[in-house]
Each structure stands twice: as structure tokens, then as C-alpha cells.
């Protein structure tokens, strides 16, 4: 096999593994969300399918797969079909630059690959932001193509909301980029090794606590989750932009929403909480004399941090009521944006005054 072919095959294997992990996580999340919500509301959650309800995600998938696929009368058929794909692809494509584990290189038949990141490009975080900003197209076009006023209003709300909060996400992570001096997620994560006070959430000279809070709130808003789920406010808009969708196309929107949640959680873990680094220097496997197994510990730390954020999403959903639309916009532009800008100024001054801290 030629070198190009081999490289291509290895990349395809990596992509398949990452996509499989993301889809399995989505399956787990759909069950976990209902279980967590159930416990928080003193209920059991789904209990019927399988022991303790653990097969519920598969039942849901089968149901969605066999549902009738309805295209409403007067809908724009091309865009109605394209919109779910436009929502799904940007949600998955960002995982290409997430470092899941240690920055190792493996040589295979003369080809050097990094097993825990599909592509270590030097503008990693900008790449994710670029594709995340395209997710809005799926929502807006889906809302417009449905030929329904509920869908259209949901799509319009979503457009304004995603643009407003995307700005805050971008500005919140600039502080971390200034500290790390790099846009590559691999380098940003590597720079946070050692004790947990090297994580950029706590790191001197400029702990990114405020940026972290702004990022988490804006990420919840950008993924259209409670308390910012205005685009799909069921009391006003039935189901918002996907009111008219059914069957597999609805499943695509559903998958995109959960994949986006996982993506923003991974970014939060990698940029603010040290990514795959353990809160102590090195790993326990290293101390036991098994350095080749250290990646298990590192990936587990990454998974734990990511799942902490995903739990936060459920927790917020069980706790907070939905904001009103004007409150949402005022909060984004008049509270979050000034905090994010002030954080950039303070971080820049701190890094200028203490370049070696």
C-alpha cells in the first residue's frame, strides 16, 4: 500500500473511532438526562425497556428510524432535507482537533501519527469556532423551509441568539489563548500539565475564573439548552425550528444538539480544566511502573471532566426556568460581553507585567 493510502486508512480509522465514541456518548446522554432529571424531581425516570431502563436509547433510536417521514405541504423540499445535515455536520466536524489523551506519537510502517487527536492543526480552536458558527444555518434554514410560522419564529430567534452568544464564547477563550500563546488545543492542553493549579482556570498570573463562567453560560446558550432554549420554547412555539420535522430528520437535529453539547464540554475541559492532565503531576500508572498504560488514566480524566460539564447541563435544566427573550439579549450584550472584554484587558496586562509567572 502506498504511503498516502496508508495515511488515509489510519485517519479513517481514527475518524471512525471518534465518531463511534461520540454517538455512544449521545446514546448514554439521552438516558442519563432523563434519569438525572427524574432523580432531581424525585421520580425514577425510564424503567420499562430493559433492566432499570438502560435499553431506552435503543428503543428511541428504533422508534425514530421507523417513523413516517413527513414533508409539510408548501415546504422547500431541498432545503428541508439539507437543513438537518447542515446542523449535524458542523457538530461532528469539530471533534477532529480535540485531544483525547496524551500527546504521544506512534510510528506505524514509517508513518508517524498521533493516536489521541485526529489532526493537530495549529489553529485548532479557531477551526472549531468556524464550524460551530455554521451550525446556525441548519437551524435557520430548517425553520424557514418548513413553511410554518412556529418554525420560522424559532429559526429567527435562534439566529439572533447564536450570533450574540458565539461572540461571548470567542471572547471568553481569548484569555486562555493569551496565556498559552497558541491556538492549538494540543499545545494549550500540554501547557497545563502538573498540579491542578496549572490549569488555566486557576493559573497565575491571570486565573480565568470570570472567562470560565462566561464561557459556560454562553456555551449553554449557544447549544439552545435550558434556560436559554428560546428557539424551541414549547409553551410559545410548539417545538421551535423543528416543529415540522419527524422521523430520521428529527433524529439528526436531536443528534446535532447532543453532539454540540459534548463538543462545548470537551472544549471547556481542554481549555480551562487541563484536558487529559490529571490534577497531580504525571500519572499513577507511571508510579506503578506501567507508563504504557498511562493513556487510560489520562483519557479517563478527560472523560470525567467532560461528563462533569454534561451533568451541569442537566442540572441547569432541572433547576432554572426559561429566560424571556429581551432578558436573554440584554444579559448577553450588557453583562457577558463587558465581563469577557474586561477579562481580555486584565489578562493581557497581567501577562505583560509577569511574562514568566
Amino acid at each position: 500500500m502506498s504511503e498516502l493510502g496508508l495515511r488515509f486508512t489510519l485517519s479513517l480509522i481514527q475518524i471512525a473511532v471518534v465518531v463511534a465514541i461520540v454517538i455512544v456518548t449521545v446514546l448514554i446522554l439521552t438516558l442519563a438526562e432523563r434519569k438525572v432529571l427524574g432523580w432531581m424531581q424525585d421520580r425514577m425516570g425510564p424503567m420499562e425497556v430493559g433492566p432499570y431502563g438502560i435499553l431506552q436509547p435503543f428503543a428511541d433510536a428504533i422508534k425514530l428510524f421507523f417513523k413516517e417521514d413527513i414533508v409539510p405541504a408548501g415546504a422547500n423540499k431541498f432545503l428541508f432535507t439539507a437543513a438537518p445535515l447542515l446542523a449535524l455536520i458542523p457538530a461532528f466536524i469539530g471533534f477532529a482537533v480535540i485531544p483525547w489523551g496524551p500527546d504521544w506519537t506512534v510510528e506505524f510502517n514509517g508513518i508517524v501519527i498521533k493516536p489521541f487527536v485526529i489532526s493537530d492543526i495549529n489553529i485548532g480552536i479557531l477551526y472549531i469556532l468556524a464550524f460551530a458558527s455554521l451550525g446556525a444555518y441548519g437551524i435557520i434554514l430548517g425553520g424557514w423551509a418548513s413553511n410554518s410560522k412556529y418554525s420560522l419564529l424559532g429559526g429567527l430567534r435562534s439566529a439572533a441568539q447564536v450570533i450574540s452568544y458565539e461572540l461571548n464564547v470567542g471572547l471568553a477563550i481569548i484569555g486562555v489563548i493569551i496565556l498559552a500563546g497558541s491556538l492549538s488545543l494540543v499545545k494549550i492542553t500540554n501547557a497545563q500539565s502538573g498540579w491542578f493549579w496549572h490549569w488555566y482556570l486557576f493559573a497565575l498570573p491571570a486565573p480565568q475564573v470570570f472567562a470560565f463562567v462566561v464561557y459556560v453560560i454562553s456555551a449553554v446558550a449557544e447549544t439552545n439548552r435550558v434556560p436559554f432554549d428560546l428557539p424551541e420554547a414549547e409553551s410559545e412555539l410548539v417545538a421551535g425550528f423543528f416543529t415540522e420535522y419527524s422521523g430520521l430528520r428529527f433524529a439528526f437535529f436531536y443528534l446535532a444538539e447532543y453532539a454540540n453539547m459534548i463538543l462545548v464540554s470537551c472544549i471547556a475541559a481542554a481549555m480551562f480544566l487541563g484536558g487529559w492532565n490529571a490534577p497531580y503531576p504525571g500519572t499513577i500508572f507511571d508510579l506503578l511502573g506501567l507508563p504504557s498504560l498511562a493513556w487510560i488514566e489520562n483519557t479517563m480524566w478527560f472523560a470525567a471532566k467532560t461528563y462533569f460539564f454534561l451533568f451541569l447541563f442537566f442540572w441547569l435544566r432541572a433547576t432554572l426556568p426559561r429566560l424571556r427573550y429581551d432578558q436573554l439579549m440584554r444579559f448577553g450584550w450588557k453583562v457577558m460581553l463587558p465581563i469577557a472584554l474586561a477579562n481580555i484587558v486584565i489578562t493581557s496586562i497581567a501577562v505583560y507585567l509577569f511574562p514568566n509567572a
Binding site: S133, L156, A159
Partner: protein
């Protein structure tokens, strides 16, 4: 190979740009503009300007074009194709520009206009750093002027919007 990639990007950019003005449905026009922005970003990547490519997508495709779509949806598209009767004006505008292009290309050194002959910039992190350094040293004054103009436009838009509301209320 490089010629092939460049040919693909350039061809799609040209076709999509024509479609933006030729299609009857404004939503399809916006979508062809989206396709065009993507291929322009692809062209930047072939020139090792990854930072520029990412910014192209974030700013143009992610923010400006979403606003275009936003405005389009508030209009009643089905009855509103009066903007497609302007090909005479468009032709009158495009002809001098095209002639100017011909004159420029005819007078130029053929080596100088070959996009692939241009020396590629340093790949790697240096690209982002190089843009930053150039922008904040050599081109600092134009950069500041551009930000000032944008700020003026922003304040102007806010003033106009506020006045409209006040006039209706009074």
C-alpha cells in the same frame, strides 16, 4: 496537483459568484454565497494562510451571512423578486470593470500574476504570528483608522435605530 486544486477552488468561486446574482430565490443566492466563502477559505489554506481562512469563515460565513439570511426571512420572499430586473444596470457596471481587468492583465508580467508562483509564507504557527506582527507594526495606522471607521458606522447605526423608535413614540 496544486494546479488542479487551485483550478477547482477558482472555478467553484466563479460559478458560485455568478449564481449569487443569477438565481431567482434570494435564499439560494445566500447559500451560493456561503459556498463561495468556503472555497475562498480553501484557497487561503492552499496558500498556507490558515488563520485567514478560519477568520474568513467565522466573520463572513458565521456572522455576516447569517444576518443576511435573518433579514431575508423577515421579507416576504415569494412576492419580492423586483431586484431581479436590474441586469441592464449590472451590465453597465460590469463592462468597464471587465475592460479594466483586461487592460491590467495585458500590461502585467505573466510571471507576476501566477498565483502559484508567489512564494508560500512560512507554514506553522508563524502564519498567525506574522499577521499579528505585521498588522500591529507596519500597518498599525491603517488598522487603527479602519477600526475607527467601523466604530463610527456602529454608533451611526445605533443613533439611526434609536431615532426611529423615538419618532414613532412621540
Amino acid at each position: 496537483m496544486e494546479q488542479l486544486v487551485f483550478g477547482y477552488f477558482a472555478g467553484v468561486i466563479a460559478v458560485a459568484a455568478v449564481l449569487v446574482v443569477a438565481l431567482r430565490n434570494p435564499v439560494y443566492s445566500v447559500l451560493s454565497l456561503l459556498v463561495m466563502f468556503f472555497h475562498v477559505a480553501g484557497l487561503y489554506i492552499t496558500l498556507h494562510a490558515e488563520f485567514l481562512a478560519a477568520v474568513q469563515i467565522i466573520v463572513y460565513a458565521g456572522a455576516i451571512l447569517v444576518l443576511y439570511l435573518f433579514v431575508l426571512m423577515l421579507l416576504n420572499i415569494k412576492q419580492d423578486d423586483r431586484y431581479h430586473r436590474q441586469w441592464r444596470t449590472a451590465a453597465a457596471l460590469c463592462l468597464p470593470l471587465f475592460l479594466e481587468l483586461l487592460v491590467l492583465f495585458a500590461g502585467a508580467d505573466p510571471e507576476a500574476i501566477d498565483p502559484l508562483a508567489a512564494a508560500p509564507m512560512n507554514s506553522g504557527e508563524d502564519n498567525t504570528r506574522a499577521i499579528g506582527l505585521t498588522l500591529f507594526s507596519t500597518y498599525l495606522f491603517p488598522f487603527e483608522v479602519a477600526s475607527l471607521i467601523l466604530l463610527v458606522a456602529m454608533i451611526g447605526a445605533i443613533v439611526l435605530a434609536k431615532r426611529g423608535i423615538g419618532g414613532q413614540g412621540a
